[in-house]
Symmetry: C2
Subunit: 467 residues, 2 copies
């Protein structure tokens, strides 16, 4: 029985098994695998072992592989339906999640997943990782489980690669992939870590913004000072840092770091027209989070600002006294986490160097700067002529009853660039997240429909790829 | 026996009792009376009761008086040596201390006082409050204790007022003093909360900078956002706040808030010459804290920048993700604590209003600002013709063997302005702090010499005032 022949029974099986699927996702979400905070290291390992055990039960040869950081789970089907010319695939996802702060804004504890119902009747799964990326990974795993139940085997030659550092830059995965390139080169990579265009319209993501993420610490005096005694005479690192941050944009919202726009192409007129036709309005996109006015480059459409244009944002800042009340202190240090979303051919290493020079040039006497790099990955573009792209769009269109669109995403998945440059394969990026999923925020959720129809979508895509 | 007649015996008594005096100061420092953090409320009350009990033992009628915040300790000698024309005095100090963060920079726990020896041989008392203001208050109390031991009575008509909110703006003390003005009006106020000119040169402080302390919170979206999805399109409150902070100074280090310099007088040429003669150099003043270059108004001497010119400093800033590693978030909120040191006739209420307007005018679409005021007190200037000033300088000169100087202080003591405007009395500001005392910083200390000779200095000043 081919995957295509099995598809109707597989879809039925997914429908029949949905309650057990949700329970399995809950078990995964309950593990607080926050990768960026070393206090959670043991939970990251537990999450790796959890997903490894599940893959093992589906017939994968599974190993939890050590890296310099959190481990990578590798599962190999060792063959499968390759004989008939179907592509071998590498499925990539991540078991780690974002931090949960501010914790007091969560309505229920982030690692106690639950089903809730929105005012418009949508059922949602609430919890950190419910969408990003545990829920999305499990759509693929549940599709495989249904194939296994119906046909007794996995439907393609599949290698699973589920890592634990995506939320903090995939630092250990880069050398892991480079050192084991021959082992992981397949015909095609599959990733489920992106979103739908809207709740009714599926999409394949054909470009991803890169990410340069720097942490800068400014130091002035060698200790905290009393502002009454030293105020007016001593350099203040918070003021210094604020002046540098303020200088990062000009009055038109453009980034001022020298050379920043090198490698950024203007969109071709036809692509621009397609984007415009998608009609992303401030009301539709910004309204749901309490905003009204696009804040980026003044001469760009909102959809360009958030998907095809590069950006600079401060993701965190701290310095001096931040407790209750007042303290008349001039801090010794202040630091900020500053990230740049990159597009086209922008070179992250060059921009990192230019940014650091930009900061150093603006240091007054008595101030020094230190840097930590947290991420340095270029933007990626998927080939429009890969046949898998058309197959996936057709499969998604069949499942959702609305034409699947091909769009750029504003987010980054660091390793996807290396899948192209190191392993020489395109990546098919299909995901079921929605703009209101509160990914990286308190009360993260994943629509039950995203989860259920996501699994059905993968079943259809697999059948289309397997032929 | 007059106070002058008793003085030699009183000085001997202070010398003989120094070890017990240190032990009493240690008992006071052990109480973690951090007033700005409500978690320490019980300790603030304990510190009030501790000093009240000590004053009681010296013969004061002592009451711990309730306020809207932390209590005020009032002790009244009810007469004393007033008959011979000596002034009645109000001694003001505070039992509260600054927060201790960053705690990990303390070499020993902040509330476990100890004696240490510096490389240059100076003995120091280490602990939060060792100088500011517990150590300084106890110099006066120990002088009184010696008078009581030698003469059997208190040497002047003294009212003690030891408050618990100086480190957070004296909010409750202002209404307390205004409502009880008749009760606390005396001929002269005494305060021990200032410093020496240098370790060998005593000083009387004749002006204090005022303090406007504002906390501003910028809010953009109604939740934290994923910078991959919203980056470039959503207003970022950290970037907004940084731009506002950067705009607070011009390229010459002058504050740009409209009307800020109204009421700031240029120094008379003779006063400026006196200040210049004190020869405060960047090496001598900034060098010990690791700095080299005066950071204030470019056309002012360093001594002006830190004592006679108004300033603006950011005392704290926080927003977004500030934990370990990276998080690609656009925060919903960012906030900063921003303070202004004021001089001359600057009007703190007007500047507060102008500052708030300055911030609001710079808010882009989708950003809003909220404010909390933590302090709003004008600068004060002590009359040069008050006879107590000359008596105190002579007494200090006798004790230290170096001519006592009269200088302005860069710090603020909020209530001293009201002593003048509400109670109609001058304040004699004498203190023994040193620039390297790390007041408000980790490892705060007070030289044993400051403590010991401070008590002896007060004994001499009291004798001079009592006649």
């Amino acid at each position: 029985m081919t995957a295509s022949q099995a598809l109707p029974a597989v879809l039925d099986r997914i429908d029949a098994d949905i309650d057990a699927s949700i329970k399995r996702l809950f078990d995964f979400v309950r593990i607080p695998s926050i990768s960026t905070d070393s206090a959670y290291n043991d939970f990251c390992r537990a999450a790796a072992e959890h997903i490894a055990s599940d893959l093992d039960s589906l017939g994968f040869d599974t190993v939890v592989r050590a890296t310099a950081g959190h481990p990578v789970v590798i599962g190999k089907s060792n063959g499968g339906a390759t004989a008939n010319g179907a592509p071998s695939v590498l499925f990539y996802g991540h078991y780690d999640v974002q931090p949960v702060d501010p914790l007091d804004l969560w309505k229920t504890p982030p690692f106690e997943p639950r089903i809730d119902t929105l005012p418009d009747g949508r059922k949602i799964i609430v919890g950190r990782g419910a969408c990003d990326d545990k829920g999305q990974v499990m759509t693929f795993v549940e599709a495989l489980r249904a194939y296994k139940a119906v046909t007794g085997k996995l439907p393609l030659d599949i290698t699973m690669m589920i890592e634990g550092e995506e939320e903090c830059g995939s630092k250990s995965l880069f050398p892991f992939v480079r050192q084991n390139a021959a082992e992981f080169k397949r015909d095609l990579a599959l990733v489920c870590d992106t979103g739908m265009w809207d709740p009714r319209t599926p999409s394949v993501t054909t470009s991803l913004r890169g990410l340069l993420y720097e942490e800068v610490t400014i130091t002035c005096a060698d200790r905290d000072l009393h502002s009454g005694i030293f105020g007016g005479g001593a350099a203040n690192p918070i003021n210094v840092l604020a002046r540098i941050i303020a200088a990062l944009h000009d009055g038109n919202g453009r980034v001022t770091v020298p050379g920043f726009y090198d490698g950024v192409q203007e969109l071709p007129a036809d692509i621009k027209a397609e984007l415009k036709a998608l009609n992303m309005t401030p009301e539709s996109f910004l309204g749901p989070v309490g905003l009204k006015v696009p804040a980026g480059e003044k001469d760009c459409m909102l959809i360009e600002q958030v998907s095809t244009r590069p950006t600079c944002d401060v993701n965190g800042i701290i310095g001096g006294y931040t407790g209750e009340g007042a303290k008349t202190v001039i801090a010794a240090q202040a630091s900020a986490k500053i990230s740049f979303r990159l597009v086209g051919e922008q070179n992250p290493e060059k921009i990192r160097d230019s940014f650091r020079a930009f900061v150093r040039e603006r240091l007054p006497a008595d101030a020094k700067a230190e840097f930590i790099n947290h991420s340095c990955s270029p933007a990626i573009q998927v080939s429009y002529d890969n046949p898998a792209l058309g197959k996936a769009r057709a499969a998604l269109t069949a499942e959702w009853g609305a034409k699947a669109v091909a769009v750029g995403s504003g987010g980054s998945i660091p390793i996807v660039g290396d899948f192209k440059t190191v392993l020489g394969m395109d990546t098919l990026l299909v995901g079921f997240g929605l703009d209101d999923d509160r990914v990286h925020s308190p009360n993260e959720k994943y629509d039950l429909t995203s989860f259920h129809k996501g699994a059905r979508s993968w079943a259809r895509i697999i059948a289309a790829l397997a032929g």
